[in-house]
Amino acid sequence: MEMNLDFIAKACVSFLAAAVGAVGFALMFRLRPRALLPGALLGGAGYVLYLFGMQLSLGAVASSLLGAALVGVLGELAARRMKMPALALTTIGAIPLVPGYGLYQTMLYFVEGQNQLALATGVETLLVAGAIAVALGIAAAVSRSAGGFLHKKEKGGDNGREGGELGEAKQNG
């Protein structure tokens, strides 16, 4: 029980911290202001799911995969609803998960001459980055093929130009 309470407290703090960090990155990458709040929420939600995975001792790779999958799915849905490319939202949402720390640690071990540790950390970093990329990629691919299908169906009419997009947004939102 105590363990659970600890975890919940940690999750809340991490959610806020990840959201603040994501907003910082969003400003740095010049995301449009209207996408700031969804980006921040995505960043927090993805990181909390990652923490949950780590708590269940799934390991960093599987936990990152889970977190990034959540970011990917929610990001694609939110992007449909807001009619903007999903890339912007999923990029910001995945920032707290990106293994920048592992990359830094790898190079630090190399600088210190601890090559074995460096290689081990480096391989894990690459796997985590791969897991995030795969999760986001699958979400994007599914959304794209589903969107194309809906688009074609809607486009049967003569004025399919606007109708297709609107119909797509309605179906998903």
Partner: protein
Amino acid sequence: MERKRTREAGCSRETMERLVSLAARLLLECGAETYRVEETVCFIARRLGARDAQVLSLPTGCLYTLVDAEGETFSRVVRVYARSTNLSTIEQVNDISRGLVDGRFDEGEALVKLEALCAVPPQPLWAGIGASVLGASGFAVLFQGGWYEALVAAVCGGLASLLSRAFGPALLPSCFHLFLSGALSAALARISALLRPEAGVSAIIVGAIMPLLPGMLITNAIRDTVSGDLLSGVARSAEALIRSAAIAAGVGVALALWRV
């Protein structure tokens, strides 16, 4: 449908070339994915009546060959020297190319809109510093830091952002300011630990260097590789490695000097 076709045939080669090159350059400079650059070039060229379009896009530039409606072939190279991440410009170029393909506006309007995007002023100094401060303090807390660590990391983040402005890519190779920022963050973290011995030095350092790290670059590198853009994937990985090596070397040098 008929109206569309006559307009396609009427599009001049210069217009096609300017539109395609401008869109490719904007996307590359703002850090768009490889497939997006190639698709945009192909879509725009086909919409303007090209019979065939072959594109090869790399992080440092883009080569394309188009066959126009009269069957004439022409090739161009778009070389890009400075790259950064600008999500709103990617979004807007995407909107413009979609609008062109959907027929929402014609090539003249698209060209005007793209040229307006080129003229957008760079981010003001305070916004860059503010973003860096927010990012650094957020990540210091994420890596088990308290308010003190977040505060010091925020100062380091702001200084790093200033440094990257002062030593722009025109003056020095871009990894030089990363080296300096890494060294500065490690030194400040150590000094702050003198004032408050229980401070977590590693939380400060990691928080401060997080905004500098090429985490997004390496994720995009893997995404490129997985989707078959092998050259771009390898090139982006190399860039990510060099950047993180520069930061780690800065931190390493500062920590090593501290011990002496």
